[in-house]
Chain length 262, copies 4
């Protein structure tokens, strides 16, 4: 019998049906980041045992919207863009493990299955949502310019409830796109046992960081954030107590695997 | 009793619930156009009584994908982009009426209700579909550049069947974005009578053209088109017999009403 | 030149591409109705000039969820259910015109284009939304029975915001499915002129009622209603001041045209 | 530091944000099953190493559509049906392992994230799709009755391409709902290592079967099946060579964990 092929499920004779092809995965997209502070114990409460809050600014949070085009090495899906474009909204905090400081994604919503599957592989705790973000324009009157005064909105809905909305009004260019999501990621990959009360079959701590990062000009501005309560969600617990800053930038990057720490 | 307010339905006391606010409507977006020839009688068959085929190149067809951000004068929806962004795929032919040559949209699919309502108002025969088009990128490896060799795909699905897919491989810059959709539009606005076998309550011939057109650089390339049969659709009747050209360009424009001809 | 064929747009040589085939339209589905009272001037404010509030109980409102299967006479779409199933949430009030009392739909959301087009034809002011309603079950533990204690929920989302949610807990069978939506409909069919500030090209007052109504057993219960504010909506203005009753029933009916009154 | 809580990701302080609550999961729904034979090596090719084809009728395939309402023990999601209803289309074959014959799901598409996550947990290789199936009716003319001559259609779309459509025309009642999906499931739970070329972090063989199965009357009929080629899919390789039968029935069941075999 021939071996089953494919990166993830379903595995098949030709290996073409996997919900997502094997890495490397390439990404090009627009990224809107709002950084703010919440009560530090809200961040600490989202860290797994053995992972500590960051030593500096432990209540810092980034809520990020991204509109991605992505593909594997063949690039084949780029010509069938329903299979290469997706949007996401995610929340990142910082934490400390083994003497290093990391970024960690604690909530994330995407709008395609290939993106959701990548996330489950990488330890991004992805759910489905409806994600929208204002696009900058260079012609016409239906959108902001990437210039002072340009106003951007971004929203998140899941299970037919709005969960978050933010605004960013640009004030100028920036040297950075933020600090909260700028470190190697520290993620947990959990899969409960199929056996009742069997604990976890997989419980790994992993780290990863992008390579071939290709950054466009960054812009900064004045942020506003609103988070809304909803059943089945705990996003609103990360309520802002103080705004830090907001950023908009185009980002290219490649993911090609990570390292298991535990 | 106060008057009901609102541009379209529903009309309400505050006039805020209309499926779309009153014009002017501003648009900024990416437009991918493929022009080709079909048998001229296929085009002629789609024209209403009293409207003739164009005198030159009467089999010319444009199939166009657009990814728009749009708003009314307040611009308020730009910050809630679920209400300002939409994608569309539409088919345009040329025709002749009253001694003038016009463009005419014969099929169109969009993915939001506000866009569908605008179309019913303007005589664009809109239905809902799922529309995707490759985006050019300036960073990273997940997309084409606006440069020779850049390859773009675009697809249309409605009622869970793929209806069209095209590819455009750029060869260079262009002075034009095509000729088929470049004329004032000649559209029919039809609404059948509520009475059985009552004919049409509204049967108008109207024309309109955009103002404040603001064009980005145009690119041209080598096009490919596939149209697929589906129940409830007649798009595939416009099968290509000869490719003309393909274009990609950013377009800004404003719609602010038209003129009734009949 | 052959004539264009088709009930609504687009009209084509074969007449198959119309967003919806010609009536008669047949419907079979589940209908959950909540009736309540709001301040009567909220209802009156939604009536067009020349239409008066109902003489009795002028603040009565019905908010209704329906999960329909529908088709035209050929029944062809029943085998391609993406083209025959849709859900809707709508709000009905009563009003008086020419000495008769009517029902009138003042807000409505659906989730398919063929349903939206039917509504624009019939004067139902349809927009798109995401509509869900609990289904009764006869096997298993994942749903209520049609029996006392059976609890049903129903929700409406549009533009990524939840607009309404209701609950109905059954208390027993009922002789009726409610009184607010039980009269002939009195609807306005409006289409603004394509000319700027040109008023309406079509402004009709029409009436219609279903034929071949085929009703299943009706159930009544205790209702709860919550309406939420949202930009671009005025539904929340119809806030409940007093609950009347709630109903669940299966309904079959046929629409085959109406009568123009003005 | 308090422990993170939640069945699957994301895990949080209150344990409410998991993409799906812990089992038991209860299901009530409509199930349409078509059984047919394909070439046995097509089935064998989808089995992992160590799992053999069934001894009898090794080319038998079931393609199944289900329209579910589902919940965990609290039943709370039943009143917010966007979180409890989903549809799925899945393909089941039989196989042999350790001297026992099992059912095995080789392809499956669902339309909600909570259902997708359950599948990844159970070894159902779920992807997202758009799934539709005709509903039987008891009132009106818009649907088949559960009686001889009743005609049902069901369709599957993913990534904007139709992948499958079937029809079932009822001939009468049945003692059974089919044999291909009637055995305990034998599933693989795979998760590749985060490390490049690291093999699988999790590669389990598990079995599970429902409890508290509560079956409605079964109907049988004449089936038709069409499978369509698409990039990123291998469903069409399971092309029918001979129809066996088709069934429609309402099913209730509870899932409450399984057993790891390897």
């Amino acid at each position: 019998m021939a071996e089953l092929r494919g990166f993830m499920m379903p595995r098949t004779p030709a290996g073409l049906a996997s919900v997502v092809p094997a890495p490397p995965w390439h990404y090009s997209g627009d990224v809107l980041t709002i950084e703010y502070r919440t009560e530090p114990d809200r961040v600490a409460g989202l860290l797994p045992a053995g992972v500590e809050p960051a030593e500096e600014d432990p209540g810092a949070v980034a809520i990020i919207w991204a509109d991605w085009q992505s593909c594997s090495d063949s690039g084949e899906a780029l010509l069938d863009p329903v299979r290469s474009q997706y949007k996401e909204c995610f929340v990142v905090v910082r934490c400390r493990y083994g003497g290093e400081t990391y970024s960690r994604c604690v909530f994330i919503w995407v709008d395609k299955d290939f993106a959701l599957a990548r996330g489950w592989y990488q330890g991004y705790p992805k759910k489905l949502g409806s994600i929208w973000m204002t696009r900058p324009v260079t012609v016409g009157r239906a959108g902001p310019r990437l210039a002072p005064g340009g106003a951007f909105g971004a929203t998140l809905q899941a299970n037919d409830r709005r969960l978050a909305e933010v605004r960013l009004t640009l004030t100028g260019e920036s040297d950075t796109g933020g600090f909260v999501n700028a470190l190697p990621m520290l993620h947990s990959r959990w899969m409960p046992s199929i056996e009742k009360d069997g604990g976890d079959s997989m419980a790994e701590l992993v780290t990863m960081r992008s390579r071939d990062v290709d950054l466009g000009s960054a812009y900064t501005g004045t942020p506003e954030v609103e988070l809304f309560e909803a059943p089945g969600e705990e996003l609103a617990a990360l309520r802002p107590s103080e705004m830090i800053a907001g950023y908009w930038r185009q980002v290219g990057a490649t993911f090609d695997g990570g390292t298991r720490l535990e």
